[in-house]
């Protein structure tokens, strides 16, 4: 990895970290959901600073260059995050349905 690549990746990692903390502070993001993002920012920083680990991972998954490894892990992370959010949306949709039904039934009971 070139120095530019390292600086760029570190900036992304650290920037992500700060943005997440700020979002939690402003109550735009719940602590619950910040967890996975903070872990990501932290993961990027660790992989850049601990270059041997990145090289070992690169070798492990059979990639050619460490940047590819970062890309692949980034992709896998986004995939998993999307899956997680889909699960959450499914749950929220079901809860909204229950709420709407309960509300409708209790309003009907009121009007009688």
């Amino acid at each position: 990895m070139t120095v530019q690549q390292k600086i760029f990746a570190l900036t992304i990692g650290a920037g992500l970290f700060l943005v997440i903390i700020e979002l939690v502070r402003r109550r735009k993001l719940a602590e619950e959901y910040s967890f996975i993002w903070l872990l990501t920012g932290f993961g990027i920083i660790v992989l850049i600073l601990w270059y041997d680990l990145l090289e070992w991972l690169t070798h492990l998954i059979g990639a050619k260059t460490p940047t590819t490894t970062l890309f692949i892990f980034g992709f896998v992370f986004l995939l998993l995050l999307n899956l997680y959010l889909s699960i959450k949306i499914t749950k929220l949709a079901s809860q909204v349905k229950d709420l709407a039904q309960k509300l409708a039934i209790s309003e009907k009971a009121d009007r009688r």
């Binding site: 502070r25 109550r27 809860q95």
Partner: protein, 233 residues
């Protein structure tokens, strides 16, 4: 304790078989209104609570401890109650201690009184990890509030309307209110103190079981305290 402006708020999740005993225990010490917030239980918690003479608020699904409790505060504010006592449904909190808890609030000396199981030598024995967590966050809360906090996780509290309004706001955590809320109380300028209370060992406590959950809890609490300190309030 025969107050009609006092609500005793109890969030309950799957407490069938115990809830009636808990309500009867409270009734022995006065006839304040008991408000049970049924947090989407799978069992007959609501039915048993109604039969025992409590007012029951039914959440359509499980919202978590903090959100259920907050529902109780919102209800109490809506109904015009001036004071509230919050306690657990499982009989862990001894109603004998209620008087000591609520008196300073009724006399308007304190805004919120937190019942501590550790101030006096009680008979309460928590599992090791949980005890360490309480101890650790107790120290952090003490550090940032400048007074000794021994039991930051205590869900046995007495509070007045001002604190109810604060607890009803978005600042109140939906999962588990803890040291972060105590630090918020301090930063909001509320008068608060701990008093010793009697707590019994509850039969079941799933709150911090396993390995991942306590780790997540520690992370969440650290982050929550950290951002609480960053907020200018």
């Amino acid at each position: 304790m025969n107050k009609n402006n006092l609500a005793i708020i109890i969030p309950a999740y799957n407490e069938a078989g115990r809830i009636a005993t808990s309500i009867a225990g409270i009734r022995k010490f006065g006839n304040a209104d008991v408000v049970i917030v049924n947090d989407g239980s799978d069992d007959d918690t609501a039915g048993e609570a109604k039969a025992a003479g409590a007012r029951v608020i039914e959440l359509p699904f499980n919202l978590g401890y903090g959100a259920a409790l907050q529902t109780g505060f919102k209800y109490a504010l809506d109904k015009g109650y001036e004071f509230a006592v919050q306690m657990d449904a499982d009989g862990q909190h001894d109603p004998l201690s209620m008087e000591a808890l609520i008196s300073p609030v009724l006399r308007d000396e304190i805004d919120v009184v937190i019942g501590s199981r550790f101030l006096d030598k009680g008979n309460y024995k928590a599992p090791f990890v949980r005890r360490m967590g309480m101890y650790f966050f107790g120290i952090i809360a003490s550090l940032f509030t400048g007074r000794r906090i021994t039991d930051p996780t205590s869900g046995f509290q007495a509070l007045n309307k001002k604190v109810m309004e604060f607890y009803a706001s978005d600042a109140y955590p939906a999962d588990y209110p803890d040291a972060d809320v105590i630090i918020m109380l301090y930063r909001q300028g509320f008068r608060f103190k701990e008093v010793p209370v009697i707590m019994h060992n509850a039969a079941k406590r799933s709150m911090h079981g396993g390995i991942l959950k306590p780790l997540y809890y520690i992370f969440k609490m650290m982050l929550s305290i950290f951002v609480t300190l960053l907020r200018k309030e």
